[in-house]
């Protein structure tokens, strides 16, 4: 990658040098005044720029200016913070310019489905994102930008570079894919990870049916319309960049014990067992801490066999076992002999893998245009090292947008972007056991990172349980490589067929390709080595989709009547191909040597045409869609607004019910235009709106959903009939997928009521919406009776769900003093999701996410409850003594007429007593309760900004209120018996139940019998915590330099800023980060919709400190 960067730098330099060297000739002097439209007062500090020259001036306190026009130049561009830019042509020696405040957005043109509308004419619920605020986040992903910036949009991210956050609009619309449809310059896509956020010109979120139904089949999850920038005016070169550092959370983040304390806990847990089981006591101590009366932290940790004698555990310095002569990091593992110096002060595993890391972004664009056409070119480098070692995102994007007029009636153009992404993410995922993060809370701190020979140390010495060395998990990926490339865009043509009739055709889509390779080597230093041989994997994929849209638009204004009609058709096709393979057993581990052919061992390969990128799953199919649609918007006297849309979609995923019809009607009334409102002069504009319509979804059906399929699978259907010893397998077949040819479109019935209010001449605007969504025919992969076997079950249209909620957006701005301006916005989002039906004829719930609670699950998605609700036993307290247990048992026997003998399974002194949720008198599976809800009651974002002369200061606060988090980290750290010998928490030692500490947090620590249904083997309320938080996402202080000197050298805009991201977080949550995203790499991959809010070691959002520079020539 490096040579490419250098090459790029050279080009950019050349380009800059050329542009700066442009110079000017003869001159005329012009004086003038810049006024504000709101109060007709002069605007101070506005920049007056001669178009096509580098001459510029700044207005005085009364708004006056004087400037010298070079020969041949007649146009001025005036810009000022808080106002829309304006260009004027100078026709005399004086000129007066009136600027319009930005907040007065009623005439702002909003791009909606296949059309544009003025904001005042909108009848649907459309959130127009304030890109000024959104772009302050130093994030490469559009979705991250939206967090807290648009009401009705929920975004949950993580600190992992390149990990797209989980986004959903207005609650949940299906049990599966809830990703909105993005329409970028008219091209629908679900992938915007590589969209350069600097290129975005406008962004609108279409939330209700009135706005979104025109996208029918794919609108159910909401639609986000994005347009990218176009050039206008004189050529402008802009640079926008920042550099900063990211700082992971400090301190003892997992609250783990040091090695001495670990020994103390071991002895305490053994003593506790012996107290409870006097007849069969366990000897005190273990192989690490010795078997003396008190624990002894050993000098060395040893594992291996020498001279026929096996040593495993802790040993004192000078012992035979710890003799360095025995050390042997045998790569074959046969004679592996590990000696590591015990880290008596304790290894901070978290900070062994999480480090400060740099982040930078550089964006350069050239834009300009005139009557005949316009252009924009941009290049961007985003380079974020992850705070977790060996993770990063390095992304290059290049964009070229051009538009041309051919004669008076025809316009053609293209928008195209290329991206190249190198993005190694956390090995093994996040939020799951098995990742480096997950092991950093488990690896005993007595283990050093490296052994005496400089190789990785690990848990192989007996007594340390089986965690893997977290550093090695990440460090061994350092030679893995991968690259993803994508071209996305469209070409279009528009022709004015008649005076009011415009035909438009757009052909667009994406082509992508990528590859990756990984190499794993043996890890004999761990107690349970994952690999005993070296394995190389390589995969490659490519594919793309195209969408061809043809529309005819008719626009008629006659007197008080205005009618806009659009009709058209669209077709879409998607294909993808994956190929890959692996080989084992390498002579050398040198990354320059290893590839698919140089390994000595078994070679495998695969290829498929699967919808999932990089999938090794065999079965797949291409996907096609065909759609016909129309919309009409009518307004009378700009007061009464009515709109309607209709769309008919056909999908290749369906056979018997291929076509679906979607429609919406909407209406608006601008009350403020009525005569009786004229007296309320403080109201600038008031509109009430309503809409009802139907949106669809088909994401949750596999492309092959309709087909019953048989397939071959070496692991599942092959058999060595001949009884051979090696690779003699006979090919076999099995029915692996059941088809449902009757599947049809999901239907999302959507009611929206809202109003838009602008008061005080635009100083304050309020937009509020209440919505109610009834979704039916949800496609869901039902669980069939086990007698069906285990073939993949197709999606059936069985589910029902409702969402309702309130979206509220308030924006305001005011001049506090002449120089000091305040602006602010508040977004407020609520949703209330209820599952209404999963399968009318089957189980009214489905459970997911068993973790180490094998057989019972953390999450129950049940009728009458929201998605992903936590479910288990509610803890009522501790069993304080045997008498309590005996009394409870007797009561239980009585209540059950002797059917049960004990109140609850595995009850014991110091263990949890569960609440009798259903009041039956004893505890069994039916006593489980809903323990928490990861869905927040509301989320909110507040942008607060102050500008004073050249200074600007802003704060963006984001908060989540009322959600619960399942803190599964505690399962590992708060129960000694969960994994004896692995790391434990301060809670386990200092705040667990003992006869003298009965008001404890954790139950009694019991080395032998501590894992049971009354402590940690069933999901219970111990793990549920409040997840509310308020975070200062962004604090920025900037200064814009304005001086004639700068103007003279061609700089029209120069701003420098410092920024702090995630400066502080206020929360009661005890984990490292209350913003819990979703693990998408586990087995099975967790579903962002039906299984979220579970923390098992996330990739926390780091604090970031940045300095940035924006320059325009």
């Amino acid at each position: 990658m490096r040579p490419k960067l250098d090459c790029l730098k050279g080009w950019l330099f050349l380009l800059l040098a050329t542009l700066i060297s442009i110079s000017s000739f003869a001159q005329t002097k012009v004086t003038g005044k810049v006024l504000s439209a709101a109060n007709n007062q002069g605007v101070p500090g506005a920049t007056v720029q001669v178009v096509g020259a580098k001459t510029a001036a700044i207005t005085a306190n009364d708004g006056t200016f004087s400037i010298v026009l070079p020969a041949g130049r007649t146009r001025l561009e005036i810009s000022s913070v808080g106002y829309d830019n304006q260009e004027v042509t100078v026709s005399g020696p004086t000129v007066t310019v009136t600027l319009t405040e930005k907040s007065n957005t009623l005439n702002e043109v909003v791009v909606t489905g296949y059309a544009t509308q003025k904001k005042k004419d909108l009848t649907g619920a459309v959130a127009v994102v304030d890109l000024g605020d959104a772009k302050k986040q130093p994030v490469p992903d559009v979705n991250d930008m939206l967090q807290g910036q648009a009401s009705g949009v929920s975004v949950v991210g993580s600190g992992q570079p390149g990990a797209s956050p989980v986004i959903h609009i207005r609650g949940f619309n299906s049990f599966g894919n809830n990703v909105p449809l993005y329409v970028v310059d008219g091209v629908p896509t679900q992938n915007v990870a590589d969209l350069n956020t600097n290129d975005i010109a406008t962004m609108q979120v279409l939330k209700d049916a009135g706005a979104a139904s025109i996208y029918g089949s794919r609108a159910s999850n909401g639609v986000i319309i994005i347009t990218t920038k176009r050039g206008n005016g004189r050529p402008k070169v802009s640079y926008d960049g920042y550099y900063g550092t990211q700082v992971p959370k400090g301190g003892n983040v997992w609250h783990v014990l040091n090695p001495t304390e670990e020994g103390t806990l071991l002895y305490q847990a053994e003593a506790n067992y012996n107290t409870l089981n006097p007849s069969s006591p366990t000897p005190l101590g273990n192989t690490i801490y010795g078997t003396g009366a008190t624990p002894v932290v050993p000098d060395y940790l040893v594992s291996g066999t020498v001279g026929g004698v096996t040593y495993s555990g802790g040993f004192a310095a000078g012992s035979t076992a710890a003799d360095p002569a025995n050390y042997n990091a045998d790569p074959t593992g046969t004679n592996y002999y590990q000696i590591a110096k015990a880290n008596k002060s304790g290894t901070d595993w978290y900070h062994a893998i999480f480090k400060n890391a740099p982040i930078q972004s550089h964006n350069l664009s050239v834009a300009g245009g005139g009557d005949q056409g316009n252009y924009l070119f941009s290049v961007n480098l985003f380079d974020q090292q992850g705070t977790l070692i060996e993770t990063h995102l390095k992304r290059y994007t290049i964009r070229a947008n051009t538009n041309f007029k051919v004669g008076n009636r025809i316009r053609i153009g293209e928008n195209i972007a290329y991206s190249s992404i190198d993005n190694p993410q956390a090995n093994g995922g996040i939020l799951v056991e098995g990742s480096a993060v997950g092991f950093s809370m488990r690896e005993n701190p007595i283990i050093p990172v490296y052994d005496i020979g400089g190789n990785f140390a690990g848990s192989a010495p007996k007594g340390l349980n089986n965690p893997r060395n977290p550093v090695s998990i990440q460090a061994t990926t350092s030679n893995n490589r991968g690259l993803a490339q994508r071209i996305f865009g469209n070409v279009y043509g528009e022709a004015d067929v008649l005076k009011n009739l415009t035909y438009r055709t757009s052909f667009g889509g994406e082509y992508y390709a990528g590859w990756a390779h990984t190499f794993t080597i043996p890890d004999y230093y761990d107690a349970e080595p994952q690999y005993t041989t070296s394995t190389y994997n390589e995969s490659s994929y490519n594919g793309g989709d195209w969408t061809w849209t043809n529309t005819l638009a008719y626009n008629l204004t006659k007197g008080d009547h205005n009618l806009k009609v659009v009709g058209g058709m669209e077709s879409y096709e998607f294909v993808n191909h994956n190929i890959g393979g692996s080989t084992q057993n390498y002579f050398s581990y040198d990354p320059l040597f290893v590839n698919l052919t140089t390994g000595a061992g078994t070679q495998t390969n695969y290829s498929n045409s699967n919808g999932t990128v990089n999938s090794t799953t065999v079965i797949g199919a291409g996907e096609t869609l065909v759609s016909y649609f129309a919309r009409a918007d009518y307004s009378y006297k700009e007061k009464y607004l009515i709109g309607g849309t209709f769309r008919r979609d056909g999908s290749s995923k369906f056979i018997e019910n291929r076509w679906g019809n979607f429609y919406a009607v909407s209406a608006g009334w601008r009350i403020s235009q009525e005569d009786f409102m004229k007296r309320a002069t403080w109201i600038t504009d008031l509109k009430i709106r309503g809409s009802y319509g139907l949106m669809g979804n088909q994401f949750n059906a596999l492309s092959t959903n309709s087909y019953t399929l048989y397939s071959l699978d070496k692991q599942k259907t092959y058999y060595p009939t001949v009884g051979g010893t090696g690779s003699i397998l006979t090919s076999g077949l099995a029915l692996t997928q059941i088809g449902n040819p009757a599947a049809k479109w999901e239907q999302d019935g959507n009611l929206n009521l809202g109003f838009d209010l602008t008061v005080l001449k635009g100083q304050l605007t309020v937009s509020a919406d209440y919505y109610q969504k009834n979704i039916k025919d949800l496609l869901y992969q039902l669980t069939l009776a086990g007698t069906n076997g285990s073939a993949t079950v197709p999606a059936y249209n069985v589910g029902k769900m409702t969402n309702n909620g309130l979206d509220l957006m308030i924006t305001g701005q005011t001049n506090i003093t002449h120089d000091l301006m305040f602006n602010g916005s508040l977004s407020f989002t609520t949703f209330h999701n209820v599952i209404k039906q999963i399968d009318a004829n089957g189980t009214p719930y489905f459970d997911v996410d068993g973790r180490r609670f094998n057989g019972s699950y953390i999450v129950r998605n049940a009728v009458g409850h929201p998605v992903s609700a936590f479910y288990g036993y509610k803890i009522a307290g501790f069993w304080q003594n045997q008498a309590e247990i005996t009394a409870a048992d007797q009561a239980a026997q009585k209540a059950s007429n002797g059917a049960v003998t004990t109140y609850q399974a595995d009850e014991g002194v110091g263990r949890f007593r569960y609440a009798d949720g259903n009041h039956q008198g004893w505890i069994d599976a039916s006593s489980k309760e809903f323990l928490g809800n990861p869905n927040p009651k509301f989320t909110y974002g507040a942008n607060l900004g102050l500008t004073y002369k050249g200074f600007d200061f802003s704060v963006f606060l984001y908060g989540v209120y009322g959600n619960d988090i399942w803190n599964n980290v505690k399962w590992w750290t708060d129960f000694y018996a969960s994994f004896p010998g692995a790391a434990s928490s301060k809670t386990a030692l200092y705040n667990s139940w003992t006869p003298t500490h009965t008001n404890a947090a954790a139950p009694i620590q019991d080395a032998v019998n501590g894992s049971n249904a009354s402590t940690n083997t069933v999901p219970n309320s111990y793990f549920v915590e409040k997840g509310s938080y308020l975070r200062a996402k962004n604090t920025t202080l900037g200064y814009s330099f304005t001086s004639a000197k700068l103007t003279r050298i061609g700089i029209t805009h120069l701003r420098a800023y410092v920024q702090a991201i995630n400066l502080f977080t206020i929360t009661k949550y005890s984990g490292i980060d209350p913003e819990i995203s979703v693990n998408q790499m586990g087995n099975p991959p967790q579903n962002a919709t039906t299984d979220f809010g579970i923390d098992e070691g996330g990739y926390a959002n780091p604090r970031q400190y940045l300095v940035g520079l924006q320059v325009t020539f």
Binding site: S279, T287, T291, G307, V309, T310, G333, T334, Y503, E528, T535, L552, S571, S582, Q584, T602, N608, V618, G620, T624, V626, G650, Y707, T708, L709, Y710, S711, Q715, K716, T717, Y718, Y719, P720, T721, G723, G726, S727, I728, L729, L733, A734, L735, T783, G786, T787, N788, G789, S790, N841, T843, G850, R852, N854, A925, F979, V1008, G1010, N1012, T1017, N1083
Partner: protein, 594 residues
């Protein structure tokens, strides 16, 4: 001007409409086959192979056939959990918190929502489904020749019989699904033993004795499985008629006896260990074996005892994971009296010295008393050679003695000497090419002995039991010390590793009172850790007595049996998985007591 524009428009719309020609929305699946492609001989043959593959009960990536998110061991065809751990010949092993759902199964405290049962259930029905697919597809494949049709049908019936046999003995009342069933929600209101008999009978009547491939089932495997079915049903007369034919005259039968698929007349191998040595598989003792391979190109251990991947000594060269540890009760059973006979009732009073609670650093001397040599091919214990891997170091190879005792399992261990051929190291825990013996000839002999004893033919019963004991007494079964403890690959010495004393029962020993207990005990010794014990105890009707005695003895030694309590009339069967009852809309009824 205007017409020109219209032309453009018409052309564009026409082009756009091309996109919606009828074929555009038809996207055929790739990488898989549809039914019309497999209704032929090759297709049915492949479906049958797929049915064989379901014997592993294993899916992709160490899962069960029940699918993603499950673990191979939950449905291991070895039944190490449901047969051995539940029957007390072994502990779950590892530490108590590892795979906690096994703990209640070991303690007879299982509940219907335990996910292991659901995965076992679904995996077995997937096996049934694959057999039914063979039969159903055959019915619509007219091009298949009559001879192939007969063969396919018979093998499918055999395999289906196997899966239903497993379902019946685990879950008692289970719904019957066959190739004609269209509604898969069937009640479990009828005992399916007769249908299982019918499947095996069909197979026995139509399959040939010799098969082209050793992995294919034959007539005699079907006869043996049918006999086993009769034994489970206590249909002793029917069972005897079959055993008389199956067992060669040299072992006490009436005729030439049965043969394996590769045409070896049934018999006992000289070495007991040959049954658990991958290099000796498909020998004359192999009546019905699931064929295991290592390094078969799948880069997985799906065909290499993946379901038993956890069952190797901990912190050992085998890496993972310290599960499936033989019980102290089992080890004590191998004590022999001065006459070389077992202590059938009071073996725990003659216990074998072990290193429970002892660190590997502390000295320990192995037991010097009389021991049945099968102990040291079954139980790994401190100070005794473990194949060619070295002396068992005791505690160092045990994850948590306090939880599961001092022993480790031996029957599933591969040898270091042929490691590269018969072990598979491609995944995080090892696999091996040791065949899984669903029925071996020693099992047949002991079932025949039981049958004869039930019919009052005690002398004949003793003949069969002594066949098994005579083989155990063969000097080939003596485990010797190493030549060099530091170099275990350097062969064995001529010094026995322990004091092995074993003899057949003296003639006339078996009587109405002694025969059955002796036969039951012999099954425990011979078939230990092979997944039989629980099912044997259950069908004998003595599971409550035996298991509760086990809990009170073994529970004092280890921490994993603290809740053990076997309820007669309930725990002989596992519960119907709760999710299946929920899915059945009331059609499935739970077993008694759950």
């Amino acid at each position: 001007m205007k017409p020109k524009k219209y032309n453009l428009l018409i052309a564009a719309v026409a082009l756009a409409t091309l996109g919606c020609s009828k074929g555009f929305l038809n996207k055929q699946p790739e990488g898989a086959l549809q039914q019309y492609q497999i209704t032929n001989t090759a297709g049915v043959q492949a479906l049958l192979t797929g049915a064989y593959a379901s014997l592993y009960q294993e899916g992709d990536g160490n899962t069960t056939l029940a699918g993603t998110g499950t673990n191979a061991w939950e449905a291991s065809p070895s039944n190490w959990i449901y047969g051995s751990v539940a029957g007390g010949d072994s502990h779950k092993g590892s530490s108590i918190s590892d795979q906690p759902p096994i703990v209640p199964i070991a303690n007879a405290q299982e509940i219907s929502s335990n996910g292991f049962f659901n995965d076992k259930w679904i995996s077995l029905y997937e096996g049934v489904k694959r057999c039914n697919q063979v039969l159903a597809t055959l019915a619509i494949s007219p091009s298949v020749s009559d001879s192939m049709r007969t063969e396919f049908t018979a093998e499918a019936h055999f395999l289906r019989g196997h899966f239903y046999f497993e379902l019946r003995r685990c879950f008692h009342m289970v719904p019957w699904i066959d190739e004609t069933t269209t509604d898969y929600n069937q009640p479990n209101d009828a005992d399916i033993w007769p249908k299982i008999e019918a499947d095996f009978t069909w197979a026995m009547d139509t399959l040939p004795a010799k098969q082209p491939n050793v992995g294919q089932v034959n007539k005699w495997a079907a006869a043996s499985y049918l006999a086993k079915t009769y034994v489970y049903e206590a249909k002793w007369a029917q069972a005897k008629a079959l055993f008389d034919q199956i067992i060669p005259a040299s072992y006490g039968g009436t005729g030439a006896g049965g043969v394996t698929s590769n045409n070896l007349t049934y018999g006992l191998t000289d070495r007991f260990e040959d049954n658990f040595d991958a290099s000796q598989k498909n020998n004359k003792e192999s009546v019905f074996a699931i064929q295991m391979t290592a390094n078969d190109g799948t880069l997985s251990i799906a065909h290499a005892n993946g379901g038993d991947m956890l069952n190797f000594p901990y912190n050992s060269p085998f890496r993972c994971c310290g599960f499936f540890q033989p019980s102290v009760d089992l080890a004590n059973s191998y004590r022999t009296d001065p006459n070389g006979l077992p202590y059938v009732t009071d073996y725990n009073s003659h216990g074998i010295a072990n290193d429970q609670g002892l660190d590997s650093k502390a000295p320990f001397t192995p037991d010097a008393g009389n021991i049945d040599p099968r102990l040291d091919w079954t139980v790994g214990r401190r100070g005794i050679p473990v194949h060619d891997w070295g002396l068992h170091p005791g505690n160092n190879w045990i994850r948590d003695q306090g939880s599961a005792g001092p022993y480790s399992n031996k029957k599933n261990l591969y040898w270091q000497g042929n490691l590269s051929t018969y072990s598979d190291q491609s995944t995080w825990a090892p696999g091996s090419a040791i065949n899984l013996l669903v029925i071996r000839f020693a099992d047949v002999l002991l079932m025949a002995a039981e049958t004869e004893a039930q019919l009052g033919n005690y002398a004949q019963a003793e003949v069969y039991v002594n066949d098994v004991r005579v083989r155990a007494a063969n000097p080939a079964n003596i485990l010797y010390q190493y030549n060099d403890n530091a170099n275990p690959l350097n062969g064995f010495s001529t010094t026995p590793a322990a004091n092995y004393v074993i003899s057949p029962y003296p003639a006339g020993y078996f009587t109405a009172t002694t025969a059955l207990p002796a036969i039951y005990f012999e099954r425990k010794l011979e078939l230990a850790c092979e997944g039989h014990r629980f099912f044997d105890l259950a069908r004998w009707g003595i599971a409550d007595v035996m298991m509760n005695a086990y809990y009170s003895f073994e529970g004092k030694i280890t921490g994993d049996l603290s809740t053990g309590n076997f309820t007669k009339g309930k725990n002989e069967y596992f519960p119907i998985p709760q999710p299946q009852i929920d899915l059945s809309n009331g059609k499935l009824k739970q077993n008694t007591g759950y």
